[in-house]
């Protein structure tokens, strides 16, 4: 059996692991490295609870052989929480303040996709529109909230990041400047 050595950047830190052949990034994160935020809801790529960012782009880690991301940058939910002061990212704060979760199981994947979405929208100088949010999170299944609070959390987060007032509720979309 040809074990593999995979080195990559995890949440900004150089990381090296020994893996089985074809072992997934999900397995490496959870079983090898003990980073449990990335969840395991289906192993088929259909629920999105295992979503991480690879070079800033969402990928489902349950279908991603770890060897494929050799040398790449991986970000998990743990990477959004700043250590030390325990400060959390505005997106995390917005999810918390807007009750954008109940059981919490979809939350890590949801927040990672939200981060990629907001980053992309901010680069274009806009807040994500309703349709953009809907499309972006369409691969993340939430069985609890009914999604409305998640739309609001993402809009709230985008406004906070660009230093704007968010007037709440249906205030979704618009320009960041």
């Amino acid at each position: 059996m040809a074990a593999e050595i995979v080195s990559f950047m995890l949440n900004g830190r150089e990381t090296v692991v020994v893996t089985n052949p074809l072992e997934t990034l999900q397995s490496v994160l959870r079983d090898r490295l003990g980073y449990m935020a990335t969840k395991s809801g289906c192993s088929q790529g259909g629920c999105g609870s295992c979503t991480v960012l690879v070079n800033g782009e969402p990928m489902v880690s349950c279908l991603l052989p770890a060897k494929d991301i050799e040398g790449q940058e991986v970000t998990t939910l743990e990477g959004l929480t700043k250590s030390g002061a325990g400060e959390i990212h505005p997106i995390q704060q917005a999810f918390y303040d807007n009750f954008a979760m109940q059981c919490g199981y979809c939350t890590p994947g949801m927040i990672m996709v939200s981060k990629a979405l907001i980053d992309r929208a901010q680069r274009a100088g806009t807040h994500p529109t309703h349709d953009e949010i809907a499309e972006a999170i369409s691969g993340n299944v939430c069985r609890c909230t009914g999604y409305q609070s998640i739309f609001e959390a993402i809009s709230d987060a985008s406004h906070r990041i660009s230093g704007h007032e968010w007037s709440g509720g249906r205030d979704i979309g618009g320009k960041t400047k």
Partner: protein
């Protein structure tokens, strides 16, 4: 005390309170059962029936045992009391479902043998190599077909329905005389409703990890919705004193009633007892979607006698709950259902016949509003239909028939603290519906006459 004064004294009601587990969720720090690591952990994979109904004649593990990483296999012979105790623990009985099948399989997906292996792949591989000798027999999938003479019999009691109090084949509720009232009614309105089984589909699948501790106890990390229920059931099934188990849970990635069946813990604990190692039993996504219990499907027949002025004077209800191959909680549900099957309406003549029926399908169980959701769904469609037949507004039909304090419910209990009228009034206001004055002025409290 005025409402305002009361509000000012309250610290939680009327205030927005952050979730206690909110920070854990957004940081990804909330610990679900699977978010723990244990050395030397074994993985449990269940071998399941490929057919809906059959005689289980033998199991051949010879090929499975050759898989590198295979550790052991458990069959019904290994289970001290091979029966789930769901009904016994809620004061109903008798129980009927084996932890592992003995000589019969009654639904496609029924658990037959547990494979324990060093890795998930080895467990999956070994499970796929187990050979089953099953003689397939005729199956029945429809509730009314299951009750016909000549239908394949599923339960060991010899009938395809739950027997209540050792003598009754269904739950009955009687008030007044429906047949006589039907003669007097201006309209007869009949409907047949069929709901589908609904899968809860929680984002986190059912599962547990059992860890043997140095002091001889077993710690069970589980996402069950019912920790004590699960513990009690495991204790009785395994002949294990309750104090030997420590159940840790309360964190579930979605349950909705789908994690109340206490199915996975007993076999996982048994495996830990036999091997002396931590054991993880996690439903795969296909297992969660196909073999975990769904909300039970219900077939409901409603026949109402209605007067021209909209009053329902008779309601005859016949329902069949599809329990699937085993009871789980359904017999209890049908009792609760029977009491509620006429709805929150004041009807002087009611007959309810509610059956708990077995079919060769996945055993069904609880889901939000267990036992009452489906009858409510049927009743409210029936009320709309009545409104159409009689030529009245759907709001009017409900106000005319709404129950009030002091009314007699079909199961001979007097109505107390009714609020249907007030809730409808509030709903109408929120929906921008301007109700006629007489409905705005209605109250759930009966007029009290002063002598």
């Amino acid at each position: 005390m005025t409402a305002e004064n009361k509000q000012a004294e309250l610290n939680v009601v009327g205030h927005s309170v952050p979730r206690r587990d909110g920070l854990g969720h957004v940081k990804g720090a909330t610990v679900y059962y699977e978010d723990r690591q244990f050395n030397d952990m074994l993985y449990l994979k269940m071998v399941r029936s490929p057919v809906a109904h059959g005689r289980l004649k033998g199991i051949d593990f010879s090929e499975a045992e050759k898989v590198r990483g295979f550790v052991t296999a458990l069959t019904h012979k290994d289970v001290p009391n091979n029966i789930y105790t769901i009904l016994r623990l809620i004061g109903v009985g008798p129980d009927d479902e084996p932890v592992l099948a003995e000589d019969r399989v009654r639904w496609k997906g029924e658990a037959i043998a547990a494979i324990l292996a060093e890795t998930v792949e080895a467990a999956q591989r070994a499970a796929s190599l187990v050979k089953l000798d099953i003689e397939e027999v005729e199956a029945v999938f429809d509730v009314e077909e299951a009750l016909k003479p000549g239908a394949p019999i599923i339960a060991d009691t010899g009938v395809n329905y739950f027997i209540y109090e050792n003598e009754m084949d269904h739950r009955q509720v009687r008030l007044g005389d429906v047949e006589k009232a039907f003669q007097e009614a201006d309209y007869i309105v009949e409907s047949r409703f069929q709901s589908s089984p609904i899968e809860h589909a929680p984002t986190e699948t059912t599962g547990c990890i059992v860890v043997p501790e140095a002091d001889g106890r077993y710690t069970v990390y589980t996402n069950t919705q019912a920790l004590f229920f699960s513990l009690d059931n495991a204790g009785i099934t395994l002949d294990l004193p309750f104090e030997k188990m420590h159940f840790v849970g309360g964190t579930s990635g979605g349950g909705f009633g789908g994690k109340v069946d206490v199915i996975v813990e007993p076999i996982a604990i048994l495996a830990a007892m036999k091997t002396g190692r931590p054991v993880k039993f996690k439903y795969s996504r296909p297992e969660e979607m196909t073999i975990s219990s769904p909300r039970g499907a219900w077939r409901l027949y409603y026949k109402d006698g209605v007067m021209k002025d909209g009053r329902i004077i008779a309601r005859k209800v016949t329902t069949y709950a599809d329990s699937g191959a085993y009871n789980r909680h359904t017999p209890y549900a049908v009792t609760k259902h029977a009491a509620n099957a006429a709805g929150p309406y004041n009807i002087p003549n009611v007959a309810i016949d509610a059956y708990c029926v077995y079919t060769n399908k996945a055993p069904s169980s609880a889901m939000r509003g267990f036992a009452v959701t489906m009858s409510t769904w049927a009743i409210e469609q029936q009320m709309d239909k009545i409104a159409e037949v009689v030529g009245l507004d759907p709001w009017a039909i409900r106000f005319i028939n709404a129950y009030k304090d002091g009314d007699m419910k079909p199961h001979h209990k007097v109505v107390e603290d009714a609020t249907l009228i007030e809730v409808m009034q509030a709903a109408a206001e929120m929906a921008g519906v301007d109700l006629p004055q007489e409905y705005k002025e209605m109250s759930s409290m009966q007029e009290v006459s002063h002598g």
